[in-house]
């Protein structure tokens, strides 16, 4: 089993420490802004970690074989889920800085907040926050444990058990993602609501998780870790899936926009208004082009889908686009007039990269990159008639 170079771990640790330092300084400098950044960071980590578990579940549910050679990439990335228990704790301390509905005087004066109080209150919020993590953790532990156990025992019924677990995980995934999005992001503006918000966050997370998987798979292949199992056909399929999910995200984003725009009801439109004025308007336009128009035009031609360089660039691009998307959702609630980006925001950015690199390395050093015990791996490798390939 080829190990990742030591350099990888060092860079990861440096990024993580730099991120932590910047975040800590951010809390000292401007506490509220730091908490808003923290929400963006936490949502992004959930997107990728839980989204990756969703990718694993998707493969099991659809009995896909083409993705088995690199399923472990997503499994390693989903190792971020146990850490969510720690990462969620600062949010508990930030509820008063973040959420308007947590201020008793505001609720007493406002009938709308009173109406939402049975759901939007501190206690229930905290319960939901950790309940979601526990739910994800349960499925993570069982699915991943079965997958890793299969390497040694090569039992077939571990596969069927994982399929059943994945089928059970699907509704849990979409409901928990919806709850997370509503609680953490939508309730930042408690007077506003959108019934498609959960789907919007889910679509964005799907794009982010797929981008992370694509980027890691291409990089690993280029450095010889996943040598023979990945061919142009699989990159084409990965790329098509990524492209499709991105178009889906754009579809949901536009649906949300169009319905609010067309009905023109003030209780809904004000949220969009904040994001269309001043420098936020510029960011909104940038989001449209960065998240949809440019990736659409670049990933549409078939040649581009198989070009590994393009794939890597687009994967990183879309990860950045998802970060921009979360930023656009969260930050206008802090400052309605102008957008801003400085060292405070950089901290969360660096932390995320360092975090996932370390998470990945921890797992990759201990587990086989290819699921050699999975019955599907032989068909997967043999799919393109390379009978002389050995699995590393």
């Amino acid at each position: 089993m080829k190990k990742l170079p030591g350099k990888f771990g060092t860079i990861a640790a440096l990024l993580l420490v730099a991120g932590v330092v910047l975040i800590a300084l951010g809390f000292i400098a401007d506490r509220q802004r730091a908490f808003f950044n923290y929400i963006i960071m936490y949502s992004f980590i959930v997107s990728i970690a839980v989204g990756s578990l969703g990718i694993v579940a998707l493969e099991y549910m659809t009995d896909a074989q083409w993705s088995t050679p690199f399923r472990r990439v997503s499994e390693f990335l989903s190792f971020g889920i146990p850490f969510l228990l720690l990462l969620a704790i600062p949010i508990v301390f930030g509820i008063h800085d973040l959420y308007h509905w947590a201020h008793k005087e505001a609720v007493e004066a406002d009938p709308i907040l009173q109406g939402k109080a049975p759901y939007l209150n501190e206690g229930f919020f905290i319960i939901r926050l950790f309940a979601m993590i526990v739910l994800w953790l349960i499925f993570y532990v069982f699915i991943i444990r079965n997958s890793e156990k299969q390497d040694k025992t090569k039992e077939y019924n571990l596969l069927t058990r994982n399929v059943k677990l994945s089928i059970g995980f699907a509704p849990v995934l979409i409901i928990s993602m919806t709850v997370t999005a509503i609680d953490l992001i939508m309730s930042l503006e408690p007077h506003w609501f959108s019934t498609i918000f959960g789907v919007y966050y889910f679509a964005g997370s799907a794009v982010a998780a797929l981008s992370a998987m694509v980027f890691m798979s291409v990089s690993l292949k280029e450095n010889g870790y996943l040598a023979a199992q990945l061919t142009d056909k699989q990159f084409h399929s990965m790329s098509t899936l990524l492209f499709g999910m991105n178009v889906f995200w754009a579809y949901i984003a536009f649906s949300q926009f169009l319905l609010i725009w067309y009905a023109d009801i003030p209780e809904e439109t004000f949220w969009l208004h904040h994001r269309m004025h001043g420098s936020w308007g510029f960011i909104s336009l940038a989001l449209l082009f960065i998240h949809f128009v440019i990736p659409f035009l670049i990933l549409l031609p078939g040649r581009m889908k198989e070009n590994r360089f393009t794939l890597k660039i687009m994967a990183v691009w879309l990860l950045f686009a998802h970060f921009l998307d979360l930023y656009w959702l969260v930050m206008p609630n802090l400052n309605k007039e102008s957008a801003f980006f400085s060292w405070n925001e950089l901290g969360s950015f660096l932390f995320i990269i360092g975090f996932f690199m370390l998470v990945y390395k921890f797992k990759a050093d201990r587990t086989n990159l290819t699921p050699i015990g999975d019955p599907k791996i032989e068909t997967a490798v043999g799919l393109h008639l390379h009978p002389d390939i050995s699995i590393d």
Binding site: K233, F254, F257, L258, Y262, D264, L300, P301, R303, L385
Partner: protein, 405 residues
């Protein structure tokens, strides 16, 4: 009887089975029993340098493109262009229809704007991309619905459509030599190699199927039938029972007749003595001027009251009495003339008398009670007083610091 019908049906549909084959070879077909063997064979044939050949399988086989050394298709570019035509046409169509031709105000939105145009644009992009791709590729290039391909109705095609895999090498190929090809295919492991002959009818002389009268006839017939059925259903059927149960309901719609009342009218007048909301019955309605009780104007001397009075006066009173109450509206010259409000009679009236005329009407002036509510009437009275004062101003009305003549 049913059997005869079935036989007739089969006969009509399979007249091609009886179509004669010439002695000219069209090509050689070979059957393979497994996907692996057909892929291996395809690789070797591609390597051998044949160009006019094809593989026929009941389902797509992974890796066949590479085995056959097929070049990537350029179809995507064509579809992209068709799709772009769809996008541009949709936007142009909406811009013309909503922005120029029929400017309908919908919900206060601009006549042409991008957000609501997106769903239609998106749909037309997909539609034209798919439609034109099919029309060009299937109909024009592939000449579908072709009904006379030499491979049709052969044992080869029957097997290859369901449970075997096959390779076909055309006689048009430069390297074609019947014996060589048969030998090659046999050596590659084919279980059944056979020759296919062309039809006696010269294929070039056959009209493109889409223009054949029978095809066009069926197309036109389907279109006419669909149109006719739609027309009959939407104009007649939905008005007959039971399809009319939703349109003809027992409930009373405005201006409908009703069997419940003797006069047949569905719409009824309010009950005698009904008072409209916000209005009070006027106790001196219909009574002469002398009988009214004189009450003072309850509306205060406030700017808003005068502005209200002015607005209502200009709406209801000025068409006859003129903007300044001089009776000089465009009705001046008619008989009877709308009187001026600056006559001594009116100036000496109390406010309640003016109020009485507004509510009761006088001579040819109708009652305005239904149009003007109580407060507005008193406000009009105030305004009339202001007009009267303005047309009969005394010097003493001027402020002290102004020039007095």
């Amino acid at each position: 009887m049913l059997k005869k019908l079935k036989e007739k049906f089969v006969e009509i549909n399979s007249d091609l089975r009886l179509e004669e084959r010439s002695n000219e070879i069209y090509g050689v077909t070979a059957i393979f029993e497994t996907p692996d063997s057909v892929i291996e064979a395809a690789k070797k044939i591609a390597d051998s340098g044949y160009e006019q050949w094809d593989v026929n399988t009941p389902f797509p086989i992974h890796g066949m493109d590479d085995a056959m050394k097929l070049k990537p298709t350029k179809l995507g570019y064509a579809t992209f262009i068709f799709g772009s035509i769809g996008t541009l046409s949709a936007l142009a169509m909406i811009a013309y229809m909503s922005g120029f031709d029929y400017k309908n105000i919908i919900g206060g939105k601009p006549f042409f704007s991008l957000p609501p145009s997106i769903p239609i644009t998106f749909e037309l992009t997909i539609l034209l991309a798919a439609l034109f791709t099919i029309i060009f590729t299937l109909i024009i290039f592939n000449k579908l619905p072709k009904i006379n391909h030499p491979l049709m109705d052969t044992e080869y095609m029957r097997r290859v459509s369901s449970e075997a895999f096959g390779i076909f090498i055309s006689a048009e190929d430069k390297k074609f030599n019947p014996d060589e090809v048969i030998g090659l295919l046999k050596s590659l492991g084919s279980s059944n190699v056979s020759l296919v002959y062309k039809f006696t009818i010269d294929e070039e002389k056959i009209q493109m199927p889409i223009f054949k009268p029978a095809f066009l006839g069926i197309l036109a017939g389907t279109a006419i039938l669909t149109a006719a059925v739609t027309y009959i259903v939407l104009n007649y059927v939905i008005y007959t029972t039971p399809f009319d149960w939703m349109t003809n309901q027992q409930k009373l719609n405005p201006q409908k007749m009703s069997p419940l009342f003797a006069d047949g009218f569905g719409m009824r007048m309010p009950v005698e003595g009904t008072v409209a909301r916000g209005f009070k019955p006027y106790e001196f309605l219909g009574k002469p001027d002398s009988s009214i009780k004189i009450v003072s104007n309850p509306m205060p001397y406030a700017k808003e009251v005068f502005e209200l009075g002015k607005k209502k006066y200009e709406t209801y009173c000025s068409p006859c009495h003129g903007n300044y109450g001089k009776g000089d509206s465009r009705l001046n010259g008619q008989f009877p003339n709308p009187p001026t409000l600056h006559s001594d009679k009116v100036r000496n009236w109390k406010d309640a008398n003016i109020y009485h005329v507004i509510v009761n009407g006088q001579n040819i002036m109708p009652s305005y009670a239904k149009q003007i509510n109580e407060n507005e009437r008193w406000a009009i009275v105030h305004y009339i007083r202001a007009l009267q004062r303005s047309q009969n101003a005394l010097d003493s009305y001027m402020p002290d610091d102004s020039n007095k003549k």
